[in-house]
Symmetry: D2
């Protein structure tokens, strides 16, 4: 069971709010709203997505990476490679 399961409802709530913000962006385009206001809203959605990503990453390191490190299966290094790859993709996105 993934680490975020404990807060699953919290993540779902955040993502539903983000979905609402993206629909709000569509309305802004349909109503010919001012570009700068649309860009401000895009920054706000991006920021909300990144926060959700950081939260998931936190729980992933706290649970999956740590469990792998503590177990004797020896796949701790692989899990860390995977997590670093995910951080790099978040940074470059």
């Amino acid at each position: 069971m993934p680490g975020y399961s404990i807060n699953r409802e919290d993540y779902l709530k955040r993502l539903r709010r983000i979905e609402g913000q993206v629909r709000g962006l569509q309305r802004m385009i349909e109503e010919d709203k001012y570009c700068i206001d649309i860009l401000t809203q895009i920054s706000s959605v991006t920021s909300a997505l990144r926060s959700a990503g950081l939260g998931l990453l936190d729980e992933h390191i706290r649970h999956c990476v740590r469990n792998a490190a503590e177990s004797d299966t020896g796949d701790g290094d692989d899990k860390i490679d995977e997590a670093i790859g995910a951080i790099e993709r978040l940074l470059r996105a």
Copy 2:
């Protein structure tokens, strides 16, 4: 009429696709998908949002900022301040 109006349908299409991706993220959470896969999808949505933002910024500078610069109303500087503020918010988001 804002500069992006010419491509309004294109932006609406992009934002509907992003909305679908955010709903996909909710499904991934509900189905207990692996954290790293969810993070990869978050990076991909972030990247799509940024591209839409850059496109809007492009048209904003091309139309609104340029019109203000060419007109005699003298508000070219204000428009540039506003655009730089929007770029900064995108960078820090």
Copy 3:
């Protein structure tokens, strides 16, 4: 003459400070300082570089892009393409 020439001394001062920060990072490595403190310093240098970049971009749009837009040489669009490309590289860096 590029737009930033007015503030050339200011940019040189900022970049000399950034150079000093990068030398400080080397000292931190040599003295086996704690990783997290080094990472905090890297974030601070990155942020200083981005601010300098945003300042240059501001003056570039204010001077070069606007001049091109106002002139009859018709290369306003090329200048805007160039500026958007630079913003995109800053965002993805």
Copy 4:
């Protein structure tokens, strides 16, 4: 001893190269080089700094965080909080 000690010479070499790039930026300003070329160079320095940061973060998680998780001192959670804070600062920088 911090995790990056193994690759200390490699990090020092990278940071000396970054220092050289920052001095190159000063020369570009002094020689009135074109803004867009300076911005491209700033993106390249930012990207080199981020790569160094990601490398340090990788070794930090691989060594310090894992050691803390494996030890019985119970400060694994603190180390993870610290690492997540560092990732967040890198993202917002």
